[in-house]
Symmetry: C2
């Protein structure tokens, strides 16, 4: 199956339901696109490599979903509306079945978010997926990492740590029931980009980031960019059922340090917290306060008694009590 | 060297000389960009994989140049002005020297074309470079593959085939002098994206494509998209000195079928050919007529006597006489 066959047969349908602002889509040297009048363009590129970002055994449909989801998550973290994406796909061979499943996973999520595939490249190589997404935001309304102020409330948009437990379950399947493993794999393979939540928080939140590298590390990016500190109440971090059932045993370390959940971490001025929660709930999302911003320069994680928890060597000994 | 170290130390300088239309560049979840008022956005992504698109021994500086050049070539083929790019870089390890040389090659070409790195991803994996470029074009002025009409003149912007000879020289170094090998490697490793030429031809040319897969194949894309045919006078195809010195021996096959030259193939209405050539020469480029568009549906390659040359199995027996 040649590169041109792949483009035509598998990916052309993804661009077929083109947005009206797609003047020229797949099939020329480049796409030609009409940006929304007066809007700013938001752009991000994330790469997923087999064996690094997803286990080799990951279903192709999930790889398709996730490769777009992690990028939509970046658009969400900026409070922007998805527009277009390009795809750079390296494959070891013309594995038609893999490719069709991949395209279905990618296409389903793209349709859900009304984002159109407008071009890219399919080529031979170790399996690797590069996706470049573009979104739109009203001028000056993009959510950044740098806007948090002392007193702001730190919130997350959903449970953390289940993607991390999914990898633990790969190594120790006997520790989990089959039903639990399915729930965890869903979290790992099919993260939900919080696009509607990000849009709802545009103009309300003071800062935002998506949690791809773990709460601790990504919160670190926010406090560094904002030149503030933060205190996180570990017991307030939302957990899924599988995690909650074993948190007494395993503690909060995975929820705090493991990434791949793609929830948003946002800061909201305290006076606008109710407004923020209402706006998010109106889009069927959730917004859970887990701490606050300080005028310091570091992050403290505290237990329910306000006692600071030890943080050493990447939270190696991070436990809830 | 962590991903964050790589981003900061090597790539941040590439985004430092940010264009004024880069509102937020490297360092947040996504870039925020102000599109030129009233312009359309042109977007393309090409991926280069080590061992597939460039030999393993290729200097990192050349890989950096070429990974951007092949994308700028797509912007050129649309007649658009470069604006921004993102970079998805997979590396087997944190090879700092390789990375710095790569960044220098990339940065030099970026500076030359005033295109700014605004984001991307650096990660572990088999060495692979995905670049997504954005350009601007006045509404309706993009050059496409689909605008050629019968009677138009087919032109190319420079010599073809030397990138192909460079690979031949890798396999048969004894057939070439050291000076010739250096010239050929320059053609292969440092293709010149014809950005100024593409811009000069916007509004004049009827169709354009960049020659990445070879004249025969890329001209095929133009005639299919335009629903026309073409006749190419093989002896008029411009050749570099190294190629010209052995064309009697090796024929035109490499110039016709091998890609990687990244010259533009354009069609120009006959009445505007002089205007097109003048516009290109004014940007220090060249525009060489090599044939014309017909009302057929196939491409013929003819010798200097107008006799059709045999085309069999991908031009296996393609000779000049």
């Amino acid at each position: 199956m040649s590169e041109f066959d792949i483009i035509r047969e598998v990916f052309a349908p993804l661009g077929a339901s083109a947005r009206e602002d797609t003047i020229i889509g797949i099939g020329d040297d480049a796409a030609v696109l009409a940006p929304p009048p007066g809007a700013e363009i938001v752009m991000a590129m994330d790469v997923l490599n087999e064996g690094i970002h997803f286990p080799v055994a990951t279903p192709a449909h999930a790889v398709g979903h996730k490769s777009l989801a992690v990028n939509l998550s970046d658009l969400a973290a900026m409070g922007s509306r998805p527009l277009w994406f390009t795809l750079g796909l390296s494959l070891p061979d013309g594995d038609t079945d893999w490719l069709r499943d991949f395209a279905h996973g990618l296409g389903s999520l793209a349709a859900e978010h009304n984002i159109t595939l407008v071009g890219g490249d399919t080529t031979r190589g170790t399996r690797s997926i590069a996706v470049n997404v573009c979104g739109a935001v009203s001028p000056g309304r993009a959510l950044t990492r740098g806007g948090a102020s002392a007193g702001d409330i730190v919130c997350v948009t959903g449970p953390l740590g289940e993607a991390g437990l999914a990898l633990d379950a790969l190594n120790q399947p006997a520790s989990y029931s089959q039903a639990e493993i399915e729930i965890l794999n869903q979290s790992l393979n099919y993260p939900t980009p919080r696009v509607a939540t990000g849009l709802a928080l545009s103009g309300i939140a003071s800062a935002a980031i998506d949690i791809s590298d773990g709460l601790a590390q990504d919160l670190g990016h926010v406090i560094n960019a904002s030149r503030v500190g933060a205190v996180i109440r570990v017991a307030d971090i939302p957990l899924g059922d599988v995690y909650a059932n074993r948190v007494d045993e395993i503690g909060y370390e995975t929820a705090v340090t493991f990434g791949d959940d793609y929830e948003l971490l946002v800061t909201v001025p305290e006076s606008r917290l109710d407004q923020a929660i209402s706006a998010v709930v109106a889009t069927s999302g959730t917004l859970v306060p887990i701490g606050h911003v300080t005028d310091g320069s570091t992050v403290s994680f505290v237990d329910s008694n306000g006692r600071e928890l030890p943080v050493s060597g990447g939270f190696d000994h991070f436990k809830s009590n």
